[in-house]
Symmetry: C2
């Protein structure tokens, strides 16, 4: 399961994607509309800014806005940033690999195959799911 932090990040980014190139958006605005605790959201947005997904403008009239285009940001990137590995086992992770403590020998472990396939399919689906796609999908579904 994704953490709340990660779900908050996705919702905030979708909200900002809907307002792409329309100037900075207040944290307060995002927090209220998306039902996210403001102080918690602050930390999340800061992290997204440090990862060059967002930029911010300080001071009066400031706020956060998308730095990357909505087509460039996909769910894989967001999840890895917020929650870490995509895979279900550390021993089949591309970005967060660790040897399994339990497995004595990775080469003869019969369990890894299935989880490698799950990882591949998950990456395939989530990497194709960009902010632009999500916004487009919501328009199709009739969200105002």
């Amino acid at each position: 399961m994704l953490s709340k932090k990660c779900k908050y990040a996705i919702h905030a980014l979708v909200y900002l994607a809907e307002r792409y190139q329309q100037g900075p958006v207040h944290i307060q605005d995002i927090a209220e509309s998306q039902h996210i605790p403001k102080k918690f959201l602050e930390a999340i947005l800061l992290e997204l800014k440090n990862s060059k997904i967002l930029h911010s403008k300080k001071g009066k009239g400031g706020g956060y806005y998308l730095y990357k285009s909505p087509e460039e940001v996909n769910l894989v990137e967001i999840i890895r940033l917020m929650d870490g590995a995509i895979s279900l086992l550390p021993c089949v992770s591309y970005n967060y690999y660790e040897p399994c403590e339990e497995c004595r020998d990775e080469k003869t472990c019969g369990i890894r195959d299935a989880f490698s396939m799950v990882r591949d399919e998950t990456l395939r689906v989530l990497s194709g799911s960009t902010l632009a796609q999500i916004v487009q999908r919501e328009k199709e579904l009739g969200k105002v």
Copy 2:
């Protein structure tokens, strides 16, 4: 990521699958060979027994053994039992469904699609991965 508990359960079950229909196996035996803390393993095996995957024999010469056949036990069942939902979001879960607190309207949420697909692919792969298959795979890979 799977919890340690879940990984322990998988390893213990594979170990028992390799000894299917060869009588009860001591917890001690499983714990030592699979590097699992014995007391923790006790709780895990008891849970697997309560779910009718294992049976046990008490007293001297007792132990645990597979009740279901290795062909009947797949990774979906084990993960659901140990860690809960397969899906990454509660709002797309079959067995652990909960409405998303963040989404005001599930029907117009553009995020769920991708996670529904991830869930479907994950279920497809993991439901096809049985204890029998894992044991077979380990034989192929040359595990003694």
